[in-house]
Chain length 335, copies 2
Amino acid sequence: MNTRIGRQTVKIENPPIILNAASIAGVKEGQGPLKDSFDKILTDDTLGEKSWEKSESTLQRQTALLALEKAQLKQSDIDYILAGDLLNQCVGAHYSVRDLDIPFLGLYGACSTMTESMSIGSMLIGGGGAQYVMCLTSSHFCSSERQFRNPLEYGGQRTPSAQWTVTGAGCAVLAASGAGPRITHVTTGKVIDKGVTDISNMGAAMAPAAIDTLLAHFNETGIKPEEYDMILTGDLGVIGSDILTELMLKEGFDIRKNHRDCGKLIFDIEAQDVHAGGSGCGCCGSVFCGYIFNELKKHNLSKILVMATGALMNPMTVEQGESIPAIAHAITIEN
Amino acid sequence: MNTRIGRQTVKIENPPIILNAASIAGVKEGQGPLKDSFDKILTDDTLGEKSWEKSESTLQRQTALLALEKAQLKQSDIDYILAGDLLNQCVGAHYSVRDLDIPFLGLYGACSTMTESMSIGSMLIGGGGAQYVMCLTSSHFCSSERQFRNPLEYGGQRTPSAQWTVTGAGCAVLAASGAGPRITHVTTGKVIDKGVTDISNMGAAMAPAAIDTLLAHFNETGIKPEEYDMILTGDLGVIGSDILTELMLKEGFDIRKNHRDCGKLIFDIEAQDVHAGGSGCGCCGSVFCGYIFNELKKHNLSKILVMATGALMNPMTVEQGESIPAIAHAITIEN
């Protein structure tokens, strides 16, 4: 049963387990600091496909199948697969799951999709209607560049505030019972738009949404920041992370010691020349389902907050003069 | 509490009420057979905005606010708003809800979004974590034509199998208690792809998904087709509806008498020159939240199945030679 304990937060009385998780990372991501944590590192970011969109679908499907294998479950065991990605009409997910014999619920949360899917998945299990739920997301540098910015062949120069879309995917398998870290609280974000219009500065656009959700989470749960071994954001990157920690401090919450950001963890920012850090649904997806899940399993982390953030514009709305709405969804994981 | 009664179906033990619903329709839709059922008919499909995308967002926001007003609720009463649309990165929904002070979960189910949102909304309420949930979707003929086919100015000729994207929006307010029709069962679809590649024949692409979900629903619930006063599909249109009823008959289920399709109901197909009928998220959205909800309130319908269908491709994947995956989500509503 799920119990609402505040405007945005639900406590899950019978918290679902993260039974297992799988992550696959691209070539560049596999050369970064987290290289030992991924289940698989691509040797060819095309995955043998003829378009970047097909590459991303294949990446996502391989990750889903690997997660099933690691969890020692069959497709027929899974009650729902919740998936989404950044591509127009979420085609990364749709083509990845069409060969899977699993009821599907499609999500769009941009780079917040990993925690959006785990939020809904946890509540579906908590509500009694599901035993096993798969939460799946991906991004691919090359499909994202073409769609959101320019085709790679154009060779456009990147601004210093730009982030590098991670080629990677993550899939977590949630279960109603078993052993493993548990998802105890779900804080769902509101769409926040503080007027940022620079499409090359996603961190600044998303930070206000992260702050909004984080304040709601602390206020509604009564959990103190220092209780968390880690407060992990999805892909605020260097700029967004600085905004988050600074403004949270002004609000009276010091998260400087335990805040980490997947977009900063996945790359060696300077050496790998990724400007403001990593981004994309697959950033939180591959980091959470790889490095973080491994640390939870090893009991190096006992209580963490995971909050992926998403920027909810498209290139056309920004060209039409619109600002960038954003969202952040947070989940508490206890070991 | 939600109880799983089959591979794809959940029974909601404490079924949520459809407390109220609002629908707004475009100029052409307001000249069709259902003109008396909409809460509001636009006199100008631009809604005074400078782009079709902004028009769609404004349409969706007006519908959400009208639903709140009809339900006599405040934004602060609503636990979740579940919304999506057809636009790239679901910007119709994101810009419509950014001024609403309501936790948001973004969905992408293409034209299945109305029942996807009501499925998840019902299970969130059934699971105990929510008291009120808004389910919102829209489509706009002009934004869809530009994005999926050609800009209106191009004046492209339409094939006979093409459907006409409805300019319209619907918003249903679900509640944990109160008076009104109840959502008792949720059957979630799988992604089905039977190899249809004609982007101008959405009905044929979506019909196999509708059949798959409908068979699962009948088999898992034990409900017989004739128990339903109406089996309402979203936007299969003329061609998809014929495929559905014919193939269901071969499977042993005669739904010819009680099957209706929102895409056939909303237009006078011949007189309004809409070829194979209406389509779009807003088709099921505006028809369900208008005509059907009114009939439920008047007790002219006592038990119905509502199943919106969605085609999950984008124009690029079809250009890349891919076929069209589709999905259908069904909910049982009892008065």
